[in-house]
């Protein structure tokens, strides 16, 4: 990157800078005209110069210029105006000039602002572009939060400075020089005094500012380090809690803040000292004028008129001069910041941008062997990881790499994935170094998965297909206002040196995944998900999630069919009582009293239990045939039972897990309530107390809690209240409550609730497990399995994929590598979070079943379990950084070497 900010700005905004200088110059014309005009108004129409006789007129706006070659040309003869008319005309011209000046100012400021924002966009993009091209080793040294602050905060002032970079010194410098020249013209020696003081200011102030700049640099560094530390605290919070080191962190942060404070305070003191000296120097000049000039005048060597003129002229000098000095300070400050940032981003061995060039066209398969030639790898400290290894992996060959940790096997896999760059030797394909091949080849035709996974914030689908998003493959058609906005976006991107790639395009390269488009994508996704044993997890995610009716209409439209199929299936397997369905005119004993009343699903978070309980309509329904008294009595019974059961237990007793309708902390409060209210009827309770009692009844499920509080009469009453509740429901509730409808998909309920349309019986042993198996099979038979997977794919994986378990992340990481259909697939102990048994299962799945349909990549697998080596064509054994054995499984076993030792 360019090291001088001024040069960087000039080279990127040259034409705009010239244009704005030109506009500023032009704007000076009306500006100076408006200076002259008041004098004309006062001298002319007001004081009457030129209107000495009544009825006298003057010519207004007579335009006549002497043009070379044409001689005198009259553009406009002018108007003859009376004194009053002239006054009005001149005043209107004054108003016009005010408007013109204002418009110029508006245009110039907007233009400068836009110039600055574009510059900021350009710098930020350029920095991120460099991050994308950093060599891998660089990331071991930098903290992500520090890079983020540099890009976000530290370059920000550069945008503001860009607009002023050339205009300001030109303008202010011009004004200052004009004033100085004027003084010199009045009196040479006094002029020299003024120039001398200016020179002193120009020398002393920048010197003093050196310290300011140094402090500014330190301030920037310490602030950046602070954000790096904050990032570390957030990322390492588990370690901090686990080791009780939060106070150590507090101490560290406090000492950093102390350092930042002392730097900032120092800066502050210096800044005002410099300001004081600057002001003093500016004020000392008039002192010299008065004393020396006065002395000369007394001696008669200086005309008093001249002295007054000089002092008057001097008034115009300090203003621009001060602003110029301020500008210079801003310039240096921004320059320091810029240097600081550039220093961090000027990295050796940056990846050539050609290697990452966009390649929208399909990339041919790699049909040559992958060669490691005399490869030597070492870690950051220089310790060797791998020594002089030469080996060849042929296309389609499967190779198990075996060795203890530290044997170099993992390092070799990382080198194949370009995560470590060779110390010596190289890795080639068809004679070309893989580090020099474009990423459009290596990133698409070589897949890599290790144990450290990374998932971006987004859906599971985004993350799973991430390995296919190489280039925008579709052209998005925008219409109307969106088209105009898109055009504007593209233009602006171009002006700021940003690429014009459309992020809304479909980036997924379906063809290289082996399908034609999004519709048959699951044809390849499902076998992969099955192979890594994650489809059940995704199915569960789908069952637990709410479904977007619009995007998944293929499933939601068939919900009735699905519900019927489930009923039929359960009947066939004699499992009728596994699920108790919702029926409009029947009480569902497996659901809570609250659910039975509501008989619908609330759109959260717009509607909650609390809001519903407070709603006047809901209250009126309960009050109608005294249902709320029944519920109150029921709540009281529940409270009595709970208190009786749990009052003696310590609050952390595991039995409290079973108490679903209150917590251990609630028990004493209910105990007090019971003493007050038992046997005294509902009128004894205040509104709050009623609520906390009735609340208990809403969570009651007879088969689960078994207190014997529901009888057929009460159930009928509840069903009746349900009917009345839905009959005249006001619109505000209708908008947030969806009634259970056997014919429709309920968008605010989970997929599982929708399919069951009922509740699993509590007494059913292993009910939900059995149901899951049945559902999986049912989805398959109805051809809906892929739709359900697709719903599961909408799952939001959270920041860094943290909403997934480590096991799920590692499985998906392997799935992602497989989905690319690369020609060389490298697995570097990818599944350590899993049980050995599951790891083996997945390895078998991938090696034996997955690639039957024709696409057979070369697989290089660094194995954790050596016993699996017999699944591979070839076994390569590493020990202490060298390749020790290489051959088929059978030959190596015969050899009685290290491999045999590892296997046993």
């Amino acid at each position: 990157m360019e090291t001088s900010l001024t040069r960087y700005i000039w080279s990127n905004t040259r034409l705009q800078q010239i244009w704005i200088l030109f506009v500023v110059a032009v704007s000076m014309i009306p500006y100076f005209m408006s200076f002259d005009l008041p004098k004309q108004i006062v001298n002319g129409p007001i004081q009457g110069n030129g209107f000495e006789t009544p009825g006298a007129t003057r010519t207004f706006m007579h335009l006549e210029y002497n043009l070379p070659a044409f001689g005198k040309v009259v553009f406009f003869d002018g108007l003859e105006l009376t004194r009053f008319q002239t006054l009005m005309a001149l005043s209107l011209v004054f108003l016009l000039l005010v408007i013109i000046n204002g418009l110029f100012k508006l245009y110039i400021n907007t233009y400068k602002g836009r110039l600055g924002e574009r510059m900021l966009r350009r710098i930020r993009f350029e920095l991120i572009d460099r991050v994308l091209r950093f060599p891998p080793a660089q990331f071991k040294r930098v903290k992500s939060a520090e890079i983020a602050t540099m890009i976000k905060d530290e370059v920000e002032p550069m945008g503001g400075f860009t607009g002023d970079a050339f205009v300001q010194p030109a303008l202010l410098g011009g004004q200052a020089i004009t004033a100085l020249v004027f003084i010199i013209m009045q009196n040479f020696w006094l002029g020299m005094i003024a120039a001398g003081i200016v020179a002193v200011q120009g020398v002393v102030i920048p010197r003093m500012r050196k310290r300011l700049l140094e402090l500014g640099r330190q301030r920037q560094l310490t602030a950046r380090e602070l954000s790096g530390r904050v990032g570390e605290i957030v990322d390492g919070i588990g370690t901090i809690h686990g080791n009780d080191t939060s106070n150590f962190e507090r101490a560290d942060i406090a000492s950093r803040l102390g350092l930042i404070f002392s730097i900032r305070y120092d800066l502050y003191q210096w800044k005002f000292l410099v300001k004081f000296i600057n002001n003093f120097l500016a004020q000392v000049t008039p002192f010299l004028f008065y004393s020396i000039g006065g002395f000369l005048a007394l001696q008669g060597r200086l005309d008093i008129g001249q002295l007054v003129a000089v002092i008057n002229a001097y008034k115009d000098l300090p203003g621009p001069l001060k602003e110029l000095i301020d500008w210079d300070q801003a310039r240096q400050d921004v320059q320091v910041k810029y240097n600081q940032v550039v220093e961090q981003f000027n990295v050796d061995m940056l990846v050539d941008s050609k290697i990452q060039a966009l390649a929208p066209d399909p990339v041919n398969r790699l049909e040559h062997s992958l060669h490691a030639v005399n490869l030597t790898l070492s870690d950051d400290s220089g310790a060797p990881l791998l020594r002089h290894v030469t080996l060849e992996i042929k296309p389609g060959e499967t190779a198990a790499i075996v060795g203890n940790s530290g044997s170099g096997a993992e390092a070799l896999a990382e080198a194949f994935a370009r995560l470590i760059w060779p110390e010596q030797g190289r890795i080639t394909i068809d004679g070309k170094d893989i580090l020099e091949l474009p990423e459009s080849i290596t990133g698409r035709r070589i897949a890599y998965a290790a144990s450290d996974t990374y998932f971006f914030h987004g859906t599971l689908r985004d993350n799973l297909l991430y390995g296919l998003k190489h280039a925008p493959l579709t052209k998005v058609e925008y219409d109307g206002a969106k088209a105009a906005k898109n055009k504007w976006n593209i233009n602006e991107a171009r002006r700021a040196g940003n690429p014009e790639l459309d992020v809304n395009s479909d980036w997924v390269d379906y063809v290289s995944a082996g399908v034609t488009g999004p519709d048959d994508l699951f044809k390849v996704v499902r076998p992969v998900l099955d192979a890594v044993l994650i489809s059940q997890d995704i199915l569960d995610m789908a069952l637990r999630s709410n479904v977007d009716i619009e995007t998944h209409a293929d499933l939601t439209d068939r919900i009735v069919e699905l519900r019927q199929a489930l009923r039929k299936r359960l009947k066939k397997e004699d499992l009728d009582d596994l699920v108790v369905p919702f029926k409009l005119d029947e009480y569902n004993p497996q659901a809570t009293v609250g659910e039975n009343l509501l008989f619908g699903s609330m759109r959260r978070p717009m509607m909650t239990n609390r809001k519903l309980a407070a709603h006047p309509y809901f209250r009126s329904v309960l009050r109608e045939n005294d249902l709320y008294i029944d519920l109150y009595n029921m709540g009281l019974e529940i409270a009595a039972n709970a208190v009786e059961l749990f009052e003696d237990l310590p609050p952390d007793h595991p039995f409290f897990q079973q108490l679903t309708f209150m917590t251990a902390d609630d028990i004493p409060a209910y105990q007090v309530l019971l003493q007050k209210l038992q046997g005294r009827g509902i009128d004894a309770a205040s509104a709050d107390e009623r609520t906390s009692i009735i609340r208990l009844s809403f969570s009651y499920i007879e088969p689960r809690h078994r207190f014997g509080l529901l009888n057929s009469q009460l159930m009928a009453k509840i069903v009746d209240a349900r009917a009345r509740f839905h009959q005249n429901m006001p619109d505000d509730l209708k908008a947030v409550i969806e009634r259970y409808d056997p014919e429709r998909f309920i968008s605010s309920a989970t997929l599982l609730d929708n399919v069951l349309f009922g509740r699993i019986g509590f007494t059913q042993a292993d009910g939900s497990d059995r149901l899951r198996t049945i559902l999986r099979d049912l989805f398959d038979r109805l051809g809906l399995f892929e739709s359900v997977l697709s719903i599961g794919m909408d799952f939001d994986v959270g920041s860094g994929g943290k909403r997934l378990t480590n096991v799920q992340r590692q499985k998906l990481n392997v799935a992602r590598a497989l989905l690319k259909r690369a020609d060389y697939v490298i697995f570097n102990r990818p599944l350590p979070a899993l049980d050995q048994r599951v790891q083996d299962h997945i390895t078998h799945n991938i090696m034996e079943d997955l690639h039957e349909e024709g696409h057979a990549p070369a697989i290089i697998w660094v194995l954790s379990n050596t016993a699996l080596a017999n699944l591979f064509d070839r076994v390569i054994v590493f020990d202490k950084g060298t390749l020790v054995e290489d051959g088929t499984h059978a030959t190596l076993l015969e050899k009685n070497g290290i491999f045999k030792e590892l296997v046993s």
Partner: protein, 154 residues
Amino acid sequence: MLLKDEVEMLRRVPLFSGVAPAKLKLLAFTSERVSYKSGQTLFRQGDPADAAYVILTGGADILSDSPSGEIKVAEIEHDSIVGEIAILCDVSRTATVRANSALEALRISKDHFLKLLSDYPEMTIEIMRVLADRLSHTTTELSEARSKQKQAAK
């Protein structure tokens, strides 16, 4: 069936006969009520043990895997507890238990069961008694089987 009925039934189980009714109610409330159809499996040999079962109604066969298939080792009836050994010594299930009629049971999870034993020593003693009884039973059967074997060998 309601909690209080379950308490009545639990009192008939020898293991719990010495425990106060209020505590039995708590035990019933904190355990899961499960029902099985005839032929449905409560747990399988080799599974990790996570709960004990008190049979309230119905009966079950205790089956053991052998090279020649499952062998029925014993039968249990209502008012008895099954699956508690695997919980106590933290091993996987030593046998398969399958309902031989419609069966209702209380499923007491491992944590709850252990907590009960530590809270109520009388239950622990009862458990010891039952286990000792079973051991002596098994010993008798074993010696009988040995003597039969000896006689057959003669």
